[in-house]
C-alpha cells in the first residue's frame, strides 16, 4: 500500500469499515509512514471533536416527561 491508497481508504479505516485484511494493510502502512500516521491521528481527532461537541445536547427533561405522558 502506498500513501495514495492510504489516503483513499482513510475515511473507511477511521470508521472501522474495512475488512480485517484491509485494516491490517492500512495499519501496517501507518506504522511505517509517519506523515500518513499524523494525518490519520488528526482526522481521528476531528471526528472525536465533532462527536463530543454535538453530543452535548440532551433532550430537555420537561420534554422527556411530556413525551412519557403522551406515549406511555
Amino acid at each position: 500500500m502506498n500513501c495514495s491508497d492510504c489516503q483513499e481508504k482513510l475515511d473507511s479505516y477511521l470508521d472501522r469499515e474495512l475488512s480485517n485484511t484491509e485494516m491490517l494493510e492500512l495499519q501496517l502502512h501507518l506504522e511505517g509512514c509517519p506523515p500518513c500516521a499524523d494525518n490519520y491521528e488528526f482526522q481521528a481527532s476531528v471526528k472525536r471533536l465533532v462527536k463530543v461537541c454535538c453530543e452535548q445536547d440532551r433532550a430537555p427533561e420537561a420534554f422527556r416527561e411530556k413525551l412519557r405522558q403522551i406515549l406511555c
Binding site: 476531528v46 454535538c54 413525551l67
Partner: protein
C-alpha cells in the same frame, strides 16, 4: 397514549433513544422548538406504525429514519431542496495547517470553540449534515446509515467524504477569522 402493556414497553424502549433523536432534530431544524415538534411527531408516528418495526433490529435507526423522513416531508417541503454543497475540492485541513506551519496540527483543534464546531456541522446542507450526524456523532455503521437514509452505501461514503471536507474548510475559515491560525502561510498565533 399507549393502549396495552406491550405498547407501553415499546414506548419505553423507544424513549431510550430520545437524546439521539433530539440531537438529530436539533441539528436538522437548527431550532429547539421545531426540534421538539419534529421529535414528538416522530414518536407518535412510530407508535402508530409500531407493527412495522421488526423486534431485534436497530430501533434507533428505525426511529431516526422516521424522524428524518418527517423532516424532509414537513420542514423542507421538498427532498430536492438545499442539497448543494460548495465544491471545496480536495480540502485536507491537516495538510493546510502543516503547510502554514501550525504544529502540532491538533493543537488548533483544541482552540476551536464547541459552538463553532456545531455551527460548522449546521452549515452543511441537510443531506450531508445527516450523514455526519449518523456516522460521526451517533456512531452508525455505513450500512445502518444507508438503510436509515434509504440510499446505497456508496452514497453514504461519498456524502460523508464531501461533508468532512466542507466541515474542515469551515473550521479552517473560523480558525483564520478568529486568529487561531493565519491564512497567509505564517505560523499559528500563540495561545494567550
Amino acid at each position: 397514549m399507549a393502549e396495552s402493556p406491550a405498547q407501553t414497553a415499546f414506548a419505553e424502549e423507544a424513549l431510550t433513544h430520545l437524546d439521539t433523536l433530539y440531537r438529530g432534530a436539533l441539528r436538522l431544524t437548527r431550532d429547539p422548538d421545531s426540534a421538539q415538534d419534529l421529535v414528538q411527531e416522530a414518536y407518535l408516528r412510530a407508535l402508530r406504525y409500531q407493527h412495522s418495526y421488526q423486534a431485534g433490529t436497530n430501533m434507533k435507526a428505525w426511529l431516526f429514519a422516521i424522524m428524518r423522513n418527517l423532516f424532509w416531508d414537513r420542514f423542507k417541503g421538498s427532498r430536492k431542496e438545499d442539497v448543494s454543497l460548495d465544491d471545496v475540492g480536495e480540502f485536507i485541513l491537516f495538510d493546510k495547517l502543516r503547510d502554514e506551519g501550525a504544529r502540532p496540527e491538533a493543537d488548533v483543534l483544541d482552540k476551536l470553540a464547541a459552538s463553532e464546531v456545531v455551527a460548522a456541522v449546521e452549515k452543511l446542507p441537510p443531506l450531508h449534515r445527516e450523514v455526519v450526524l449518523l456516522v460521526d456523532v451517533e456512531g452508525f455503521s455505513y450500512k445502518d446509515a444507508a438503510q436509515t437514509l434509504g440510499v446505497p452505501i456508496g452514497t453514504v461514503m461519498s456524502r460523508l467524504h464531501r461533508a468532512r471536507q466542507q466541515l474542515q474548510k469551515s473550521l479552517y475559515d473560523y480558525a483564520v477569522e478568529s486568529g487561531i491560525v493565519r491564512g497567509n502561510g505564517t505560523r499559528e498565533v500563540p495561545q494567550q
